[in-house]
Amino acid sequence: MKPAPFTYHRPRGLDEALEVLAALGEAGKVLAGGQSLVPLMSMRLSAPAHLVDVNHVPGLATVHVDEHVVRIGALARHSQVEHDAAAYDALPLLRQALRHVAHPTIRNRGTTVGSLVHGDPAAELPAVLLLLDGSVTLRSAERAREVEAASFFIGPMETALRPGELAVAATFRRPATGSGTAFVEVTRRHGDYAVCGVGAVVGASSARVALLGVGPGPVLVDLPDAVRDEPLDDERVHALVEEAIDPEADIHASADYRRHLAHVLVRRALAEAHHRAPGRAA
């Protein structure tokens, strides 16, 4: 469990990082928190010839909050985002989801943007980005582009990031005022990838959920009939979720169990989000 040989690059600025990445093309791999990449390299499941360590690029460890969005810079660690008071006030769902990401020691190093770029179908943050109609800002030596979540996640461990590009930020859109959010999971152990997980946003006239572990990637389900001040139409929700998911068995759970959990957790997440919507009785 030692990585194959690689060349290590440590750019000191964004332009330098982008130049290095441009020169390396497909041979270059960005190292930020390294919490997924380094184990993969140690097991030689990933063997990039060049590692571009962006940890010394200034200006990327940012959490920006305004009236519309929370924008997370490439080097903001999960724990930084999790504990950012302004980000929590603006978008509680981020903290609600981040608490399910592995363990504090991993969240101290792992980056939120890195998790999105890694594109693990069982990870929490891709689901949150989808749920909030977020986007990822990609920079290369030539240009910058903004990719919507729906087109960013292409498949398991596959995203729209191209060789030579660096994901410099992720933008999470704040839901409409008066919305409530929740993130619930069933894991085998605390901090494990979810057997099934559900994030929910319930607004005045809309509701949607994003599910983990029941498809090749996060599954977004809009529930237009589930209105905030009305009791949810359980049968309608069940039917919409049932139609969207396609769980598979693995060593931790049968497909039927995952399907069952999806419905249970959707109910729980919606109820919790509904309960948390401002203006409702505690």
């Binding site: 469990m1 990585p3 759970a253 049968s254």
Partner: protein, 796 residues
């Protein structure tokens, strides 16, 4: 008065060093050494057709590549069958490097030595081994069916069939007024110490000697094994254990292939060589345990008393059996627990499969046996509508029946005789601790809140302190330091503390002056090893006996110096003094001074030594300075060798909650009543229980070895092999009962494995109670509980 240490909660002297990162584990040593890597079989069963190293030869840093063809003499022969048994008719062991055939994924095929482990792995990636695949035998059912054979010359894949009986059990079952039959299964798990194995070998060409450091549970046996394999005089080999980051059984097996290959390569290359096992290697090339299927027939009377018990089980021993039949022998004997089984018959079949070998893992066959017996107890209670504790109580061996002979032969070849224990008292303590009689009220309250809870219990008896012997050496240095050595090894249990407590009281010296060394053959050459919960019993008794000898020697030397009678002297706080003289008397002498006087000298090298030189000490000029039967130095060696094992016992009760929707299983309370005889250090015993319970919880709810039908271990990482985190381990409530062992001078019994044994049994009992679904297989996951619920509802 010396502060009493025995029985006290003395903080572990090891901890400051270990928890501040100052431990010295195998991989902390040998930075000057070459490093080894291994090409391991990716196939479960295959013939090796060709090994091509062409692509590997131009890697910078390559030192050597070895295959079986390079292994000369006894190195090329199979590794030893460590524990032969008459019923082990088809014992097969591996080669250090595979010869012609591989029998499990992970078996070592090629050894690479390079300037670093990184380079070694680069080279391993470039070695091309061609295999001709053979059908893989995976799982007990496939092994029993024997459509394919693991070893061509082992018919039916059967390594051994063994029967023990106290009479015609099946007739007793048939004649009983009530009968039940149960099929019960336990899956594979493994020791998984956080530090894997590791070996560092240094060959001294001038001295023609080897110094080997290895992460083992038995340095003395590794020494013998290396000497035998490398054709060296034993005298030319020394084996030292550095700090060892856990063993739990897997490191008692020896020699591991790497334990002979690394020293062999070091001698051949004339340079130090090191190998540090990584996690993936540990999963696929060390050892697993627990996988067994059991068929039980039991007959009992109207009160639930056992009349006959007939058990057949099939034990998956993996690809080879270097450690013999110890695990199934323990299951077959220790299954009986604290009960009288009526007429008993047990038969096991030990089967080869194309999987990692099976050797003892903490508990060593007892968790399976306990699961079987306790499932039987719960089934009888359910059948007769009796409280589960009542059925157990009625079947207990009574205290006045001790010592109790179960009429079987145990793993040490000796009769299975329980030396002491008070099972009714233990059960009474457990019921009080967990609040057994009040549980129905809690259940009702939970039900009212829409919650589902259940309670379960399990009892076990554990043979501990297995022989044949251990020894101790104690020397008092001239500065008063007491140096204690025992040959068995430590893996973090707190042996240095526990043994020093014993010596402090026996010798009469301050605890702080005692230094304990374990597992270093340069210090102590005769030992067996650390396994079977035996250190306190074996080495504890040995150092106690040794301390008494040394104390006697100190008294007789001091008696001469003080011109007093030995009978009038005592040793207190490192001083020999006249009894009752208190601190004021001049008639006292430090043990360090006694040590000086014990060694008559010609030459003085310091002030203390000068007191023992020939013109300093008043001595009878007509007697020899060292008399017949005496020896210089205040030191002694003694051994403890019991006729039989001593039997500890315990009972666990568990309260679980099962989520009615998600089928998640949460342990709400975990209560332990434990009887290991006299306690040397209750804090260390409780620490052992905590660790054992953690592994019991792992085995009950999380851990399994997920073999694909082709023999690939698909969860060979800590990401997918779910060892419980601290967050999964409940708060553990402990009460002790003390029934001293009559077999050893300290009255102690072993405690190392206790916590793990009843985990699956107690948790299964609690889940069954919560759900009303019969649990016949462990571990159990939420997904499996969900499927059991659906099956009960009659849904597919």
């Amino acid at each position: 008065m010396t502060t009493k240490m025995f029985g006290e909660r003395v903080p572990r002297v090891e901890d400051a060093r270990l928890v501040t990162g100052n431990g010295r584990f195998l991989d902390d040593l040998g930075h000057d050494a070459l490093e080894a890597g291994f090409v391991r079989s990716p196939q479960a069963h295959a013939r090796i057709v060709d090994i091509d190293v062409t692509d590997a030869l131009d890697v910078d840093g390559l030192v050597a590549i070895y295959t079986h063809e390079d292994l000369e003499g006894r190195m090329g022969e199979r590794l030893p069958l460590l524990i032969p048994h008459p019923t082990l008719t088809h014992g097969r062991t591996p080669y250090a490097l595979a010869k012609e055939e591989v029998n499990h994924v992970g078996e070592a095929v090629v050894m690479v030595v390079a300037t670093s482990r990184y380079v070694a792995e680069d080279i391993c990636d470039r070695v091309r081994v061609s295999y001709e695949a053979l059908p893989a035998v995976v799982g007990v059912e496939a092994a029993r069916a024997a459509a394919h054979l693991v070893h061509d010359d082992v018919p039916g894949n059967v390594a051994a069939v063994m029967v023990q009986r106290t009479g015609d059990a099946d007739a007793a079952v048939d004649a009983a007024p009530h009968r039940l039959e149960l099929d019960l299964a336990i899956e594979r798990s493994a020791s998984t110490p956080l530090e894997g194995k590791g070996v560092l070998a240094r060959w001294d060409a001038d001295d023609r000697s080897l110094l080997v450091h290895t992460s083992t549970q038995t340095s003395t046996s590794v020494r013998q094994a290396i000497a035998a394999k490398l054709d060296l005089p034993v005298d030319r080999v020394e084996v030292v254990t550095p700090d060892v980051g856990g063993g739990f059984g897997v490191k008692i097996v020896h020699p591991w292939p790497e334990e002979v290959l690394v020293p062999w390569a070091a001698r051949r290359l004339g340079r130090p060589v090191k190998w540090t096992e990584d996690r993936r290697e540990h999963f696929v090339s060390s050892a697993h345990e627990r996988g067994q299927l059991h068929e039980v027939r039991v007959g009992y009377d109207d009160d639930g008393r056992l009349l006959g018990l007939s058990v057949r089980f099939w034990h998956d021993n993996g690809a080879y059996v270097p450690y013999g039949l110890i695990v199934p022998i323990i299951t077959s004997t220790q299954l009986l627990g604290p009960y009288k089984p009526g007429v008993y018959r047990v038969e096991f079949t030990s089967l080869y499969t194309n999987t990692v070998i099976v050797t003892p893992y903490r508990g060593a066959g007892r968790p399976q046996g306990c699961f079987v017996m306790e499932r039987v107890m719960d089934a009888i209670a359910a059948d007769l509508g009796l409280d589960r504790t009542v059925v157990r109580e009625r079947n207990f061996i009574r205290p006045d029946e001790m010592p109790y002979d179960q009429g079987l032969v145990f793993q040490d070849g000796r009769q299975l005789v329980y030396d002491s224990g008070d099972f009714p008292a233990s059960l009474a303590k457990l019921k009080a601790l967990v609040g057994w009689d009040d549980f129905e009220a809690l259940r009702e309250q939970a039900r009212g809140e829409g919650r589902r809870v259940g309670i379960g219990l399990a009892c076990y008896v554990e043979g501990t302190g297995v022989g044949p012997y251990e020894g101790g050496h104690i020397r008092v240095e001239t500065d008063g330091t007491v140096v204690v050595s025992t040959g068995l090894t430590s893996q973090g249990q707190g042996h240095q503390t526990m043994l020093a407590q014993i010596v402090a009281d026996e010798l009469g010296v301050p605890f702080e002056r005692i230094q304990v060394t374990t597992g270093d053959t340069r210090r102590f050459k005769y030992a067996v090893g650390t396994f079977a919960s035996r250190t306190a019993v074996m080495s504890g008794s040995a150092v106690a006996l040794t301390a008494r000898t040394v104390r006697q020697k100190a008294l007789s030397i001091a008696a001469q110096a003080l011109e007093a009678d030995v009978e009038d002297l005592e040793v207190v706080d490192g001083l020999v003094q006249v009894k009752g003289s208190g601190g004021g008397s001049t008639a006292r002498i430090e043990l360090g001074t006694v040590a000086v006087l014990s060694n008559p000298l010609r030459y003085a090298f310091d002030e203390a030594a000068a007191r023992a030189t020939q013109f300093a000490a008043p001595a009878d000029p007509d007697t020899p300075p060292v008399g017949p039967g005496e020896s210089p130095g205040l030191e002694g060696t003694d051994y403890y060798s019991p006729a039989r094992s001593t039997f500890a016992n315990g009972m666990h009760a568990v309260v679980v909650e099962t989520d009615p929707d998600t089928a998640e299983i949460t342990i709400l309370r975990y209560c332990v009543v434990h009887d290991c005889g006299t306690l040397v250090n209750p804090m260390i015993v409780e620490g052992q229980i905590h660790g054992g319970v953690a592994q019991g919880v792992g085995g009950a709810l999380y851990e399994r070895m997920e073999y694909a039908p082709d023999g690939q271990l698909v969860n060979a990482s800590f990401m997918d092999f779910l060892m419980p985190y601290a967050t999964e381990v409940p708060t553990i409530e402990i009460d002790h009962l003390v029934t001293p062992s009559p077999l050893n001078p300290l009255g102690v019994k072993g405690a190392g494995e206790a916590g793990v044994i009843p985990g699956s049994a107690a948790i299964a009992s609690a889940i069954e109670d919560a759900e009303g679904i019969t649990i016949t297989s462990m571990p159990i996951s939420p997904s499996q509980l969900f499927e059991l619920r659906r099956a009960r509802e009659g849904r597919p």
